[in-house]
Every structure is written in C-alpha cells, then in structure tokens.
Symmetry: C2
Subunit: 252 residues, 2 copies
C-alpha cells in the first residue's frame, strides 16, 4: 500500500462541509464525497480516506489536507493532474506527497491556521458574496488586534464553543491571533491553534465585532474565557468569511 | 417625471445577460429583470428602463449603467439604499444621479471600457471559477501588448464580430487596447471603444491567445481586420473573464 497526503483548496459555497454525510434525503454534496469519487476514478479503490478537519457548510479552504492509502503507487505530479481532472471545479488539489503508514491527516495535526475575511464598504460587493462577511461599519483594527492578544495561550475555550457540543476537554492552545487591515475596506482575522472547538473561530470573530460595536468591553475576553459559558461570548459570525489556510504536521 | 441614471455592479455567473428575455420556457433570470422588479418595489412604476448594453450570459460588470424615469423624486442616496435592499445579492447599485429627459443609458454612450481577466497557474483556482479565464500556459504580456496596438483606431471590425450578426455598420473606433500583468500568474486585457460588436472583446482575446500559442502570427492583426471575415480571427474566448468596467457619456 502507498500512503498519500493531499493539499487542497475549495470554495465552500456549494458544499455541506467536508465530511461525507448520509441523510434520509440522500447524500449531501460534501468535499470528502467529491474527493472520494475522484480518487476511486484514479486509483480504483482507496482506503482510510481522512480529512484534517470537519468543516461547516460554506467554510472555505486554501490549505486543507486529506490522507488516504491505495495499492497503486503513482508519481505525485500524476496524482495532482489525474485527481484534478476528476474533481468538480470548486475543488483543486495543489500538492501530493507520500507519507508513512502511521500518518493520519487529522490525528497527526500539530496546528491549524484559519483566516476570516471581512469587508466594510457601505454597499455590498456582488463578487464577495459568501466569501467575506459584509460588515458595513467602521473597524479600528489596532484596537481589535490588541484584544486578540487575550486569546493567545492555553485556555479552556468552553465559552467559544457552540452550545450543545459534546467535547469534554475544551482546553486549546492558541499560538497566534491577529486582526489587521488588508486593503481599503478589507480586514482579516487570523488565528493559529493546536486545535479548534466547534464554531470557535466564528465565535471569536463575533466577539471581536461586538467589541467593535461596543456591545462587549475591549478588555472582557479574559473574563469571558473564565466563565466557560457560551452565553458570555459574542455571536457566531457566519461561515462566509472563514478559510482553513494552513495545517502543520510533525516531521513533514 | 424624474430621470435617473444608476451605476451598478453584478456577478454575471447566474444571469442570462442584462436584457429581459421572454422565452417559451418562462422568463430567464436577467440583470434587467431583477432591476425592474427592485425599481417597481421602490418607485411603484418606472418607465423607459434602459441598460447601457446587452451583455452575454456569464459576463460581469463593475460599472454598468441603466437609466429610467419615475414619478417619484427621491434623493440619490435613498435610491441607492432602497433599490439595493430589493435586489438579489449578486447585483449592487453603487451610484444614482439625476439626468435630463433626453438622456438614454444606451444611446448617449460615448465610450465603453471592458477588462478581460486571465490566470495562468498550472492548477485551477476554485475561487476564480467563472470570473477568470484559466489559461495554464506561459504568457508574454509585452509581446501581446505590442499586438494590441493594431486594434487601435477606426476600423471595420467585421472579422471580430460573431458570425451571423445582423449589424450592417461594423466600423468602430478603439481608443485604447492593452495587455498587462496584474500580479503573479494574472493578466488583464483592457479595451476602450466608442462601441463594440457582438463578441468583439472575446474574439480579440481569443486572437491574442492564439498569437501567444503561435497559431496566429504576431503581426497578423491588420491583415485579419482587412479581411472583414470572422474566420480569419481567433476563437471566441469564454464569457467568464469579461467585465464591463466603465461607460462614459457626454456632459456627465
């Protein structure tokens, strides 16, 4: 068996996330489902197909990772071209490499980085639908960037986890969080952590935007974390602006 | 009656062009159709709604113009906000101004400018689907830009008009045409003229790309124009990369 790791990019607007879902309505369109079909076309059969993360409906990726095993041993460049030829045009493979048998795209993750894109022009931009959050208000990026520092470090992020999540250990280590201007009327929030709770980035963004609008105090983040209660954090920003942009592994 | 001119932006991917079309299959989704519905919501009734140009299915605009008349006299800013609130999110009004009774968004045009966007990375970019032409080959922008000079001036552009067009006078004046790099792996072709024939920009782009691939000689454009025969020009590049970006009027 040969073990492969793919790096891929997808526009999440027409996907119900990564994970293959079988529902009573029939199969929903997922990145994992489309990828599996393309891999079967190229390799015949594949085993252990694993994505680095479940992603929500509408979330995008510029650096998603997926691993799988197959009997066929193909050159990396051949895999990229052949799998792309079998994928719909809202997913593209950027890189393929061989990994060890023990490697797993999800369990071997050391850190993941997300970016959340926001634009603030008064009139909406038809070309940014579903790709950015439209927040037509003034943003003070320096102030929000200061607030971001309070996310950094190892904390129990239960306040930044979707209500009803079943995860027991909600401690995560945030290595970096920043909020900055990208160009006129465009801003980005980036955050890198050893792992993320369900909706964690979107609740962080909602909290920062409520700091901007004055609904939450600039210095409140440490106290919100301390509460370990979802109701103290800001709203869950929509999936539109969220991109999984980088996944790191040990020994890779 | 008050006479209005709107500047609008639309993502053409889900539109069958601007012009309202009634077909036996029922009404197709058009920019003009959506605009008319939104204007009726705001003004009650509107008259003489006119777009600056028919555009093909899939063609985009960042500076489209439409004029209309209504009994109600509303402030420009109010029109922008109210009409946007009634439009789907792949169209947005950027500006509204009052014009004279004689003004017509199409007949009063002095010049129009189009841009055509191309990207050349070997792997397709899911975020550019339908917004750029993917041409995964090397482009020598300087060479193509030299060829563009031959489009400039007043010529009979019959060779650059879709076969079967019924227009009799195919002379047009091209004021500017250029091909240039935008950023790594991205290029743009811009052309400004007093008017355009059906598919003219897309055939110009197809011709430039066939010059790039060596199928058409670098210096052949004057001879192709001279032939006044569609079969001598290059292929019709897809609508994907085409944007109507600027429309100029006299006394505006």
């Amino acid at each position: 068996m040969t073990h492969y790791l793919l790096t891929l990019c997808f526009d999440g607007r027409k996907f119900c996330g990564y994970q293959v879902q079988n529902t009573t309505d029939g199969e929903k369109r997922t990145v994992g489902g489309e990828l599996k079909k393309a891999l079967i076309s190229v390799f015949g059969t594949v085993e252990n197909l694993a994505g680095c993360s479940r992603t929500d409906s509408g979330v995008h990726a510029t650096g998603y990772r997926a691993s799988f095993s197959a009997e066929k041993n193909l050159d990396d460049g051949v895999v990229v071209r052949a799998v792309n030829a079998n994928l719909p045009n809202d997913i593209a493979i950027y890189e393929c490499r061989k990994v060890s048998e023990k490697f797993h795209a999800r369990y071997s993750v050391i850190s993941k980085k997300y970016v959340y894109k926001i634009y603030t022009s008064p009139v909406r931009d038809p070309f940014k639908n579903g790709l950015y959050l439209h927040f037509p208000h003034k943003i003070d990026a320096q102030v929000l960037n200061c607030a971001c520092r309070d996310f950094c470090g190892t904390h129990d992020f239960a306040s930044f986890m979707a209500a009803g999540s079943k995860i027991k250990d909600s401690a995560r280590t945030v290595y970096e969080a920043s909020f900055y201007p990208v160009c006129e009327n465009e801003y980005a929030f980036t955050v890198t952590a050893n792992g993320f709770l369900y909706n964690m980035v979107r609740i962080m963004v909602g909290t920062l935007l409520e700091i901007q609008t004055g609904k939450i105090d600039l210095h409140a983040i440490p106290a919100i974390i301390e509460k370990k209660d979802r109701s103290f954090a800001g709203y869950t920003a929509p999936a539109d602006g969220l991109y999984l942009c980088e996944v790191r592994y040990d020994n890779l």
